[in-house]
Amino acid sequence: MTNPKVASMRDAIADLVRDGDTVAIEGFTHLISFAAGHEIIRQRKRDLTLARLTPDLIYDQMIAAGVARKLIFSWLGNPGVGGLGAIRRRIETGDPAPLEVEEYSHFGMVGRYTAGAANLPFFPLRSYFETDLPVVNPLIREIESPYGDGKVYAVPPLKPDVTIIHAQRADAAGNTQVWGLLGCQKEAAFAADRVIVVVEELVDEAVIRADPNRTIIPGLIVDAVVVEPFGAHPSYVQGAYDRDNQFYLDWDAITRDEGSIQAWLRDWVYDLDGRTAYVDKLGPDRVASLRPAAAAPSGSVDYGQYT
């Protein structure tokens, strides 16, 4: 039986991402769905609001491609390497197009997704005191504790129209398991109206049910499951492949020049019809070089059978 949730990337993006949407491709350094971002570029979506703690290379690429009008974020950079030129130019000079920004701290962004997922009007946190962040972002507001024990700051819920996450595995119903850094994918997915899960591997439901503690997202809230091995490259997937740090270093040069970015987008996004072609273009040697040096399996646990 074919489950209607299992879809091609092309169909999932075409059906579930609409012009003007707020889109969150989450995953903190780990499990970033570059494959979905590239498909959004190829389909020339427009006027998106892009939310992510760390815009990373994928939002630099998407913003250079003109899909977004606004960015919601908490740390803007090429992690461990440098800056994101396409985004910086748009903020610093408005060239070639202005970009609206809404800025928080990491905890603020995590709190926003948490409030969105839990259907709360705000998330309280002990941050932002005596800083300029609430000055430039009036959505960060000081509130009095209703119990008379001082002030905290509040951030509003963030409910993306679409959240897209990459994971090690899911079953055809969208029950999704992740290991390694968990970031805030769970919160971002539960907060969203629509959810796309992209996985390295589609597994049988029994695999999921054998290890329920590892499930971060239930199929109940998932609209599409896309099987796209190596879909997080140049970011990484714990246990499957490492970050392609050479690519992050290369991007530091590419992003300094708008022409270089557009040439890269042509060669690696527009001229390819999907991730399979991208992986072919990378070549087997590059792919092989990113595999972990050795296996490091977890011990297994016994859940017990209770009849």
Binding site: H30, W75, P79, L125, E130, L182, R243
Partner: protein, 263 residues
């Protein structure tokens, strides 16, 4: 740029990293920031603070990285760690819950009271330079028990007035900082150490930065030429001990063999 002391040459960056690592002696739980803090803390775990628990904002407690993490989200911080948790748990329970002894931050600009800017140079709306922003730094500065800063010293970075306050330090001085921390119920007592490529600074009773130790090869003229205010110099100014062969070997062979941070 190297100085030869006791027979072994080392760079200013290596001296800075070593001095920062030594400041972590005796500390238990350290929240690690990206870049220079990352290498300094990893060096400390291999030298003066073997029991140091490394906490990464990406959601790891008790990391034992087998290589220098390329970023603060590297897979090597997960494998072999004590706990991999969601960022919600990390920020809510570990940081805001008061378990972090030292938050280790970098900065683009810092003032004499240790207030930090990592957001913009110039005007916020149309900045001369758009910097990365807070990340977790703002809440680390408020909730970690104390804050260590590691950064290169220059007239552009050590300024009389920072362009944007991303992370609060000692605000306008001791009186204001102590009152606001007390009234606000902050867990942290703010910045306590600033390590630069020229020396090591601590904070006086009035919460202003004081140069306590000058690194080998650096002079007070260098310090004065790279700071936007009249610096306070300790009466008993010390000379920082140069890196040992063991520290240099760890940096060059294990932590940063490519020299990305240390050249």
């Amino acid at each position: 740029m190297t100085a030869a002391v006791h027979g072994s040459a080392f760079s200013k960056s290596e001296m800075m990293i070593v001095a920062a690592a030594r400041e972590l002696a005796g500390q238990r739980v350290c929240f690690v920031g990206v870049g220079l803090p990352n290498i300094a803390v990893n060096l400390a775990q291999r030298t003066v603070a073997p029991d140091l628990e490394l906490v990464y904002e990406a959601g790891v407690f008790g990391a034992r990285p087998a290589r220098l993490p390329l970023s603060i989200g590297d897979p090597t911080i997960v494998t072999g760690s004590t706990a991999a948790v969601s960022m919600y748990e990390l920020f809510s329970f570990y940081l805001q819950g008061g378990l972090i002894d030292v938050g280790f931050l970098g900065a683009a600009q810092i003032d004499r009271f240790g207030n930090i800017n990592t957001t913009v140079i110039g005007d916020y709306e149309r900045p001369t330079t758009r910097l990365p922003g807070s990340g977790g730094a703002c809440e680390i500065a408020i909730n970690a028990r104390q804050v260590f800063v590691i950064m290169r010293q220059s007239a552009r970075s050590f300024v009389e007035k920072i362009d944007f306050r991303t992370s609060p330090g000692n605000l306008g001085g001791a009186e204001q900082a102590e009152r606001i921390r007390r009234e606000g119920g902050w867990l942290g007592r703010g910045p306590s150490v600033v390590v630069t490529d020229l020396g090591t600074w601590h904070f006086d009773d009035d919460c202003e930065m004081r140069l306590d130790s000058l690194h080998p090869g650096a002079t007070l003229d260098d310090v004065r030429a790279t700071i936007g205010w009249q610096p306070r110099i300790a009466g008993s100014l010390a000379s920082t001990a140069p890196p040992t062969d063991a520290e240099l070997r760890l940096i060059r062979e294990e932590l940063d063999p490519g020299g990305a941070y240390t050249r």
